[in-house]
């Protein structure tokens, strides 16, 4: 048997970072919020997952044991809190596609909630992790509304990754605050101030 030298086509390894491998998006956001809290920068917490409790037992007087319960659909977003006097509210989404972000990922009640809080002077957005590109984007409520409206008007049911990048703030992973999304919120606050000054 001979070992013929085989000329292979050069193999271009796709530029997909793996630095977040094994750490869930939710976890790095929670960790960032802990850092923000510890450094006294902002107070932002994840809300508990709502659970419908069906049966509770009291094996001891002081302890309740839940024997039957089910996950409920949250009626709002997952995260909220306060930063520089502003009400902050957002949801975290993961996108595994390399081409587009399906709008079905955003629930109807979340769209309503983000619009409610924006109308009352809060700052609402989605934090979207493009897992295949290891990229985190912040999409404001207004920009999200544009794509939701396009869909409702009979257009595309998703946002292409290119469109998403053009409409969002890029959140560069950092240390010790892994997801420093408040940097982008600072830019949003500047915009709000300019608007109210005019």
């Amino acid at each position: 048997m001979y070992n013929y030298p085989v000329k292979r086509a050069p193999y271009n390894k796709p530029k997909i970072s793996t630095s977040n491998r094994g750490m869930k998006f939710e976890e790095i956001i929670n960790e960032s919020n802990e850092q923000y809290l510890k450094r006294d920068i902002a107070v932002i917490h994840k809300k508990p997952t709502p659970v419908q409790i069906v049966e509770v037992d009291y094996p001891k007087r002081s302890m309740a044991k839940i024997n039957e319960a089910y996950y409920k659909t949250p009626s709002t977003t997952d995260y909220n809190g306060v930063y520089k006097g502003y009400y902050i509210d957002f949801d975290a989404k993961q996108c595994n596609s390399t081409t587009s972000f399906p709008l079905s990922n955003i629930h109807e009640h979340q769209i309503k909630h983000l619009n409610d809080i924006t109308r009352h002077g809060g700052i609402g957005f989605l934090l979207i992790q493009l897992t295949r590109f290891d990229e985190i984007l912040l999409l404001e409520t207004d920009k999200m509304n544009y794509f939701v409206k396009r869909k409702n008007d009979g257009g595309k049911k998703s946002i292409t990754i290119d469109e998403l990048r053009e409409s969002s703030y890029l959140i560069k992973e950092s240390f010790p605050i892994r997801v420093p999304y408040l940097d982008a919120v600072d830019k949003i606050i500047e915009k709000m101030k300019e608007k109210s000054d005019n």
Copy 2:
């Protein structure tokens, strides 16, 4: 057998209203928040009760059934949201005593949380229902701090009802918004504006 006329001491029925009988404090707050939302006045929600999930079953592919779980102590307060651009954050407490409100009702982490959010420009308070007087009071973080400090300095472990009334805003029950606590928040906002103008 004779029916002797018996002279009874006049019985002074205590002035305790029963209009809320059967309706829990939490329920009338939730109802008020729904009204505020429906009327587009504010977006304030109760956070779900945190639950530590130990065992989950999947009887159907699409359905998760929680078989063992326990209540966790919340790390924050129960309610938060946005009103007139301000971050609002509070906890609801019931007091069944006719003489004093025990400070042990306010958990250490809630005191910390209310101070955190106040320092960052949010509006934090306790809504206290004096069940025996059918009276609802709003106690701001700063005023709460005064009594907590007094306790920590070796003073009283409770707030007398008179002190509480003097330090709080009275929330008069109303209709259709049963607990119109945002009326008192309006006064707090006015105070904040005056302060920042000076």
